[in-house]
């Protein structure tokens, strides 16, 4: 059974049809979703943890229509890290603790920061005052604090310089070794997809067929 399946899915955003009749299966492990800007890669991720619903069609998670699941429980199991950091005011540790509390878990702040390749020294720093690269890794740590089984990463390095990108990639590679965690990475960078993912799925331009690339 695939991790996610999209069946005849049409998605509309801001009044524009982003994709139509999309059929797609994503398996466990690390999958990269690639495609040029504007084909709806971010929209696709939003459908997977129901930040948005499709106009038509069914999105399945482990065989279940996502609309039949408790949406809050689904999001704690399928955590999405958006393209740009959007942390809450407060310290790094506050942000991590907040996410854990939402999921009813006891936070291991130091361990979670280490998982996201962040120094423990940052724990008490104001989260929104960190560099964008550090904030993006706090977003990762925060998502991990909910104890997810799937991590959805939307262009996790798009806003970063080369050094920060390498660090985030290393973080994701480290996480991909965990057997209990699947990762779906959206990226426009085919080389990054090859570096990080076990399989690569291309979202086609509207009207074209879907290709599984490797």
């Amino acid at each position: 059974m695939p991790l996610f399946a999209l069946e005849d899915v049409t998605a509309v955003r801001s009044g524009r049809t982003v994709f139509e009749g999309l059929e797609l299966a994503l398996s466990e492990g690390v999958t990269a979703v690639v495609g040029p800007s504007g084909v709806g890669k971010s929209t696709l991720l939003r459908l997977l943890n129901r930040l948005a619903d499709p106009e038509r069609g069914v999105v399945r998670y482990r065989g279940c229509d996502v609309r039949s699941l408790d949406v809050l429980a689904l999001r704690r199991e399928v955590a999405l890290v958006p393209q740009l950091p959007a942390l809450l005011p407060g310290s790094v540790a506050d942000n991590v603790r907040y996410a854990a509390r939402v999921a009813g878990r006891v936070p291991e702040v130091a361990g979670l920061l280490a998982d996201a390749a962040l120094s423990g020294d940052l724990a008490e720093r104001e989260a929104t005052a960190l560099s964008v690269g550090e904030q993006q890794r706090v977003m990762l740590a925060r998502a991990l604090a909910t104890g997810p089984r799937v991590l959805l990463a939307d262009e996790p390095t798009a806003a970063l310089d080369e050094d920060s990108r390498a660090l985030v990639e290393r973080t994701l590679l480290g996480l991909s070794d965990r057997e209990d965690l699947s990762i779906v990475i959206v990226t426009h960078d085919r080389a990054q997809a090859d570096r990080l993912a076990e399989s690569v799925v291309a979202v086609p331009a509207p009207g074209a067929g879907l290709a599984v690339l490797g």
């Binding site: 955003r13 801001s14 943890n49 129901r50 930040l51 948005a52 619903d53 609309r67 949406v71 809050l72 429980a73 689904l74 999001r75 704690r76 955590a79 999405l80 890290v81 958006p82 740009l84 959007a86 942390l87 809450l88 005011p89 907040y98 996410a99 939402v102 999921a103 977003m139 925060r142 998502a143 909910t146």
Partner: protein
């Protein structure tokens, strides 16, 4: 309390100072002359009309007339506030409920405490005062709510993405909008008597009441007003925030400006 009689001639004479405002505007080329004239004319027409309506309500001395008048005030208040809250979809109903709730709670309390008798002479002006203040505060709060939900959309969605319920994800913007609605009244309550004399006290002093009575009644109204306005703002914000999210805890797509 002795009553004060003001003739139409005296009202007309007071227009001399309004004429001064027109002269100032024209002299400074502030281009507010038309607005000042319209404002003065509207005040005359609206207050005169309301005066006659209140006269009928007082003469009839029936609670149904009072309730009907207060509902009409709530309706106008909600419609007026809705214009300021254009960034909040479907703001009218939350505002109408919030203003109605504030008026009902306040009047119920002052009557229950025995501050006023349940008579039109007391219920109409106090109700009008509560609805007016609640309208201003709720409008400011919802205006801020609409702006902040748009500005904070990425953070709200990131919080929803963690599995937080919509109410929880919106809490920071709700808190800010509540504060922005309440702070003006709290500040004016702090400076009352120092920087300005509130209306009830001014009215009572002009009408010849003893200063101590005027002060005590004003205090009752200020305290009641704080509670009523807090209640109205909380109700408006709590009800209005539901328009921004779906039952599946998703942030609705919003037009950037309205």
């Amino acid at each position: 309390m002795s009553s004060v009689h003001v003739s139409l001639g005296e009202v007309a004479a007071s227009l001399a100072l309004t004429a001064l405002a027109v002269v100032v505007s024209a002299g400074q080329r502030a281009r507010l002359e038309d607005d000042i004239v319209v404002a003065a004319a509207r005040a005359f027409v609206q207050l005169s009309a309301v005066g006659y309506v209140i006269k009928v309500v007082f003469e009839q001395d029936r609670l149904t007339f009072v309730v009907a008048l207060l509902i009409a005030m709530t309706l106008v208040g909600a419609l007026t506030a809705r214009r300021r809250a254009a960034g909040v979809p479907g703001a009218f109903l939350p505002l109408f409920i919030a203003l109605g709730l504030a008026a009902a709670a306040t009047l119920g309390l002052v009557v229950a405490l025995g501050v006023f008798a349940a008579e039109p002479r007391y219920l109409v002006p106090v109700g009008g005062m509560v609805i007016g203040n609640a309208m201003t505060a709720a409008a400011v709060a919802l205006n801020r709510l609409g702006d902040d939900v748009r500005a904070d959309a990425p953070r709200i969605e990131a919080t929803l993405a963690l599995g937080a319920p919509a109410r929880e994800a919106l809490r920071p913007v709700m808190r800010r909008s509540l504060r922005s609605g309440l702070i003006p009244l709290i500040d004016s309550t702090k400076t009352t008597g120092l920087v300005f004399f509130p209306g009830t006290m001014v009215g009572m002093l002009l009408a010849g009441a003893a200063p101590v009575d005027a002060v005590r009644l004003q205090l009752v109204l200020l305290y009641v007003l704080l509670g009523a306005v807090a209640l109205a703002t909380l109700a408006a914000v709590t009800l209005a925030q539901r328009a921004f999210t779906t039952p599946a805890h998703q942030l609705r797509e919003l037009p950037l400006t309205k």
